[in-house]
């Protein structure tokens, strides 16, 4: 991790994931943060986090954003984990009544929008497309 040839963001993400698996996660994250500051890559932190989440999915660990109209029950969450094929699911939950019903799952470059709001919007869109055509 010493200065010299710049590491690619993906390599850095792979390093963090490796360390997370071997139990040295905290230390690795601190080192990665220091490296990003030193190599003036602070702006790419979001991308690094997404990279880490993406690599984690390969080993079955999913970090997902769940948006639903009401709080999800544990059984519902385990159903979602099953759907994603996740061994472990870390969920960041948001309750948003405007989605009306259903759930929206966003995890590491994947998305499943099964909310009622999305369905209505899509229906509206296809209808307006038909009108303009």
């Amino acid at each position: 991790m010493s200065a010299g040839r710049k590491l690619s963001r993906r390599k850095l993400a792979e390093y963090v994931v490796d360390e997370l698996h071997s139990g040295n996660g905290d230390k690795a994250i601190q080192r990665a943060a220091a490296y990003m500051i030193e190599t003036k890559q602070k702006h790419a932190v979001d991308s690094l986090v997404r990279d880490i989440e993406e690599i984690l999915t390969d080993s079955g660990t999913f970090v997902a954003d769940l948006t639903s109209a009401r709080k999800l029950s544990d059984s519902e969450k385990s159903d979602i984990a099953k759907l994603l094929g996740a061994k472990k699911l870390h969920a960041r939950e948001t309750v948003d009544t405007t989605v009306l019903g259903g759930v929206k799952i966003e995890a590491a470059g994947q998305r499943l929008d099964a909310t009622l709001r999305h369905k209505i919007d899509s229906l509206k869109e296809t209808d307006s497309r038909r009108e303009t055509a």
Binding site: S8, R9, R10, A44, D46, S47, R50, D51, E54, L84, E106, G109, Q110, R111, L112, A114, K119, S122, L123, T126, T132, A133
Partner: protein
């Protein structure tokens, strides 16, 4: 919707919902990390393909882009529209297809943008087919050698640098030397001669006033019905200017693949290269000579390779290309001009000096060449114009000696006299392309020396009189000649006879 019954409505609604359910599932999404200058950088979407269309979900609807830079960490995508509504953090989806444009006969007579959307204020264009913007060129076995003529109606070109269907002939010259005029005349000629060739004119970053003028002229001449104009202006995003020739070629290929003949006019590829340079530099690709990227040759070679004469098995259609390149101070050895010269099957070089001497079209006989058109030249024109190019080149060389004022022998003097008349004959007014019989009669009369005694200033008048007389007195013979076959001795004798009479009248 008024005539739909409740049952039908319910059925339709159920159908729409079922369709949505079916389409539902895990989809791959990326995120816009940076955006600016018409370029969006996207994180994620590892499965994106080169030139694949991406859909960016903005607050004001979907903005499309196409992926050009596929890198380890991110994708560089060029937006097909304004970048104002796109922000970092917006989600990006793959559309699952490369960029396609509407193609078909419905586009004839229309002015469209590179995505096939109307710019002429007319109704929306609904075509049955679409064609991919980037498409591999036809292979060796699918091609046939160029053998049918593509008459431009310009005597100097049809006689000295004939163009065949399926050929790529470059029009090159400085600004204001009549490059576009040649294209317009060629389009008009297709309508006048009823050649059935479809014109596809691509304005690449041209001033809108110029395009409007051109479209007006085409309408006025009755050419628009067999023409598609694909227009981009300097205010359009570089991505649109970049796409214009590829999209237009897709539109032309439809006719080629259906056994028809189409003529592509790219006006001009210098501006296209500049637009691509802008995109490449913004995508952080390494600059090369004149700051153009390394693949600027491939940019034009893959475009022009799509022009072809198809084999009979594939329907025998053709796509001819007349790309235009604008040079700076007559420098044809600059980067882009040499590239395109080496790609094309010949070039027509327009000279500023000739233009200001009043020799219009200002075609340079020495620097222009057509490498494959000889086999495609109309037999009638070929039979009378075999020594034209050599004679004219020799004359231009001799003419510079005459300026020294030295004494000349009779043979040289005669050659100069003939050359002056030939030069005069090859002058042609804009929007007045000539038919085959007119070209043959004019060239034959001068070549045989019948106009040698007519003063140079009166050559054009003599030519006009000759053509009028031939048409009024020998209409049938001229109609036969216009079919393009080698003229009979009798026809040639008639031309000489009438030319001699005309020359006699002119002398007095």
């Amino acid at each position: 919707m008024t005539n739909i019954t409740v049952t039908e409505l319910t059925k339709e609604l159920k159908g729409a919902i079922a369709k949505l359910e079916a389409a539902e599932g895990l989809e791959t999404v990326g995120v816009v990390t940076r955006v600016g200058d018409g370029i969006a950088w996207v994180h994620g979407l590892k499965s994106a393909g080169y030139s694949e269309v991406l859909e960016i979900e903005t607050e004001s609807g979907i903005v499309e882009a196409f992926a050009l830079n596929l890198m380890e960490d991110e994708i560089g995508a060029v937006l097909l529209g304004s970048d104002e509504t796109v922000r970092a953090g917006h989600k990006v989806k793959l559309k699952g297809e490369v960029l396609s444009v509407p193609v078909g006969e419905e586009l004839l007579g229309r002015v469209v943008d590179p995505l096939g959307r109307p710019l002429d204020g007319g109704p929306a264009i609904k075509t049955k087919h679409t064609g991919p913007v980037e498409r591999e060129a036809i292979g060796v076995m699918g091609r046939k050698s160029v053998h049918e003529p593509m008459m431009t109606g310009i005597v100097a070109i049809d006689a000295m640098f004939p163009i065949g269907r399926g050929q790529r002939e470059l029009i090159i010259g400085d600004r204001q030397t009549g490059k576009t005029a040649i294209l317009v005349d060629t389009m008009i000629n297709q309508a006048r001669q009823k050649s059935g060739v479809i014109n596809v004119y691509v304005a690449i970053g041209q001033k809108l006033s110029k395009i409007a003028q051109l479209v007006d002229r085409l309408k006025h001449e009755g050419v628009m019905d067999q023409t598609i104009v694909v227009a981009t202006s300097p205010s359009d995003p570089a991505s649109m200017v970049y796409l214009a020739p590829y999209a237009a070629t897709a539109m032309g290929e439809y006719f080629r693949d259906n056994g028809d003949h189409a003529l592509m006019m790219y006006d001009d590829l210098s501006k296209h290269a500049v637009a691509y340079r802008q995109m490449s530099l913004l995508l952080r690709r390494p600059p090369g000579r004149e700051a153009y990227p390394g693949d600027v040759f491939y940019l034009h070679s893959r475009l022009l390779e799509r022009s072809a004469k198809l084999s009979d098995d594939l329907g025998g259609g053709s796509l001819t290309a007349l790309p235009v390149i604008e040079t700076q101070a007559g420098d044809i050895s600059a980067y882009i001009p040499t590239n395109v010269i080496s790609i094309t099957d010949g070039q027509i070089f327009m000279e500023t000096d000739l233009f200001y001497q009043g020799i219009r079209p200002a075609i340079s006989a020495g620097l222009s060449v057509s490498r494959v058109g000889g086999n495609a030249q109309t037999k009638a024109v070929k039979s009378v114009s075999s020594h034209l190019k050599l004679g004219l080149s020799q004359f231009r060389e001799l003419a510079s000696f005459v300026q020294f004022g030295s004494d000349l022998d009779d043979a040289t003097k005669a050659q100069i006299e003939r050359g002056q008349r030939l030069t005069e004959l090859l002058k042609q007014h804009q929007y007045q392309p000539m038919g085959i019989w007119e070209q043959v009669a004019s060239i034959h009369a001068v070549n045989e020396g019948t106009f040698d005694d007519v003063p140079v200033a009166k050559i054009k008048e003599a030519q006009a009189t000759l053509l009028t007389r031939l048409w009024t007195e020998h209409k049938e013979a001229m109609r036969t000649l216009n079919k393009g076959d080698k003229p009979s001795d009798e026809t040639l004798k008639t031309i000489i006879k009438v030319a001699k009479e005309t020359a006699k009248d002119m002398k007095d």
